[in-house]
């Protein structure tokens, strides 16, 4: 039965749970930040493939987004978390018969979230690609830049600027999706709130705290992105 004073539970230290939840919040942020560069890179290349003139590249990229946007995040996570160890075990046992393989839940979460994030980000990048006129590429080639250099020096800076608001949405849903990794045992915000709720029986309190953590992260990221947008030299109220 709930008996302890909730104000003691909400302190930092051995009796309180706030330190555990703060640590969980750090894991949440670390997971999201570790996913971001991988997801952005894959997403960019998938979008590049999607607007390529080569049909086979387009097909491969479309299969990628269809699969990872169509599967529920939880199913992808479970398939990866339970499936990959089995697969690796079969491979490794050819060399070392008594090996067992465990997938670290942080790494599994990072890979799965990258796959999901990149398939959504690729749609954002694709529409940004379509907003860049052809003349930009032609200009790049005309002054003798290679394919890759045109992409990096001419297209990419414009692309990021156009894609930024869409990527912000992808980032916010990435932050929220990190909570799913708690299901495979990663000690992030929600998992620690779950533990706290189990031990203290103050379930509403601690899930409320977890919700506030996620809300806080969303608020902080919206401040950060609007600062970045300003520094990119764009006003919010364009249109």
């Amino acid at each position: 039965m709930p008996s302890q004073n909730i104000w003691i539970l909400l302190t930092w230290g051995p009796d309180g749970w706030i330190d555990d939840i703060a640590y969980g919040a750090l894991v949440t942020i670390a997971l999201a930040l570790a996913t971001l560069p991988i997801g952005l890179t894959i997403g960019f290349f998938v979008a590049w493939a999607k607007q390529s003139e080569e049909p086979s590249l387009r097909l491969a990229a479309n299969i990628y987004t269809t699969v990872f946007r169509g599967l529920p995040e939880l199913v992808t996570l479970f398939l990866f978390f339970f499936g990959v160890p089995i697969l690796l075990q079969h491979l490794v046992r050819y060399f070392q018969p008594d090996a067992t393989i465990d997938v670290n839940s942080f790494v599994a979460g990072m890979i799965v979230l990258s796959l999901i994030f990149s398939s959504y980000a690729s749609e954002v990048f694709l529409s940004a690609f379509r907003a860049i006129p052809k003349g930009q590429y032609e200009g790049g080639y005309a002054i003798g830049l290679s394919n890759w250099l045109t992409m990096r020096k001419v297209i990419l800076p414009q692309l990021l600027r156009i894609a930024f608001p869409g990527l912000e949405n992808c980032w916010l849903s990435l932050l929220k999706d990190t909570s799913l990794v708690s299901v495979v045992g990663l000690a992030e915000t929600l998992r620690n709130a779950y533990t706290a709720a189990r031990v203290t029986k103050h379930a509403f309190l601690f899930y409320g705290v977890a919700a506030m953590v996620f809300l806080g992260l969303a608020v902080v990221s919206s401040f950060a992105t609007s600062a970045i947008l300003r520094s990119l030299g764009r006003r919010e109220a364009q249109r």
């Binding site: 199913v75 909570s179 977890a210």
Partner: protein
């Protein structure tokens, strides 16, 4: 309007030989083919008639639960989204602030947290919820008029409390999902209504239509065309998100897969479920695209 041949920009001729993009493209497609073949051959290799006989009916039942959950929460969410959207567009500071907070909370926190908050969190208020209740009629007796067809024959009045509602995981799932999707749908509705030009309201007003008539006959038909695609996306997101309720012990499609995996340690439990979800989402996506093509035919030139 005639398009002359000179105006049509022809696509550049296909590159010949093996440029780098083609090599990469073929390699990637080859990878996907191998991957698909791998999964298919695994499913054939691991084909287990017992597994199928045992779990296929359970999966069907799970699919039913998933669809029921999604349908009920989409409809409840749509109903709830109307006052929220009204609040968001209202000139009243208090109303619009309240609606903004509602939308911000439900869009800013993970659905999993919201589901936990309802399922585990409301358990903290068990005594309070148990005190609030109402009398509801319950069918206590059925009269069979034909095989598989029964009509209610007797009704008793029973006392139901809110706790009776919230102690069931499925109800909690529906509750959390309906609140969540209401926030998203309110934004869709608001965006669609605001996308209709102001002149349409003014034109209707000058014809002497009152507000509700204008909304029903002039604004909504135009707004819903805009809203169709976002609504379709929301439906797809709900189908995908519904897998979450498996964690709070609802035996939906994902829940049945979890159960099957826990009993058999056979990864095909999840592969089959993944295929079902993929097929479901693809059907919905193409269905929405088809409807959109049909209802925008008059806008095409």
């Amino acid at each position: 309007m005639s398009i002359t041949a000179a105006m049509v920009e022809r696509p550049p001729p296909r590159a010949r030989g093996w440029p780098r993009s083609r090599v990469i493209g073929y390699a990637m497609v080859g990878f996907w083919i191998l991957f698909g073949l791998g999964i298919v051959s695994y499913l054939i290799f691991a084909w287990n008639a017992d597994f199928f006989a045992k779990y296929a009916p359970a999966y069907l039942k799970g699919l039913q639960t998933t669809l029921l959950l999604v349908c009920i929460s989409m409809v409840l969410g749509a109903i709830l989204s109307v006052p929220v959207a009204y609040g968001r567009m209202s000139a009243n500071r208090f109303l619009s602030g309240l609606a903004y907070c509602y939308v911000y909370f439900f869009r800013g926190t993970p659905l999993l947290v919201q589901t936990y908050l309802v399922y585990y969190g409301l358990g903290s208020f068990r005594a309070e919820l148990g005190a609030l209740g109402t009398y509801l009629p319950v069918v206590s007796d059925w009269f069979q008029i034909a095989p598989h067809v029964s009509v209610p024959a007797g009704v008793t009045i029973e006392w139901f409390t809110l706790w009776d509602f919230f102690k069931d995981a499925f109800n909690c799932g529906v509750f959390a999902f309906a609140l969540n999707t209401a926030a998203y749908q309110a934004e869709i509705l608001r965006g669609a209504i605001e996308s209709v030009p102001r002149g349409q309201w003014e034109g209707a007003a000058s014809l002497g239509l009152h507000k509700l008539q204008t909304l029903r006959k002039i604004i909504l038909p135009q707004a819903l065309i805009v809203a169709l695609r976002p609504y379709g996306n929301e439906l797809i997101l709900m189908v995908k998100a519904s897998a979450i309720v498996a964690i709070i012990t609802v035996y939906d499609l994902m829940g049945q897969a979890k159960l099957a995996f826990a009993n058999s340690f056979d990864i095909q439990a999840y592969i089959w479920v993944a295929l079902v979800y993929l097929v479901m989402v693809e059907i919905l996506r193409h269905g929405v695209e088809w409807i959109e093509r049909r209802i925008t035919i008059h806008l095409k030139r």
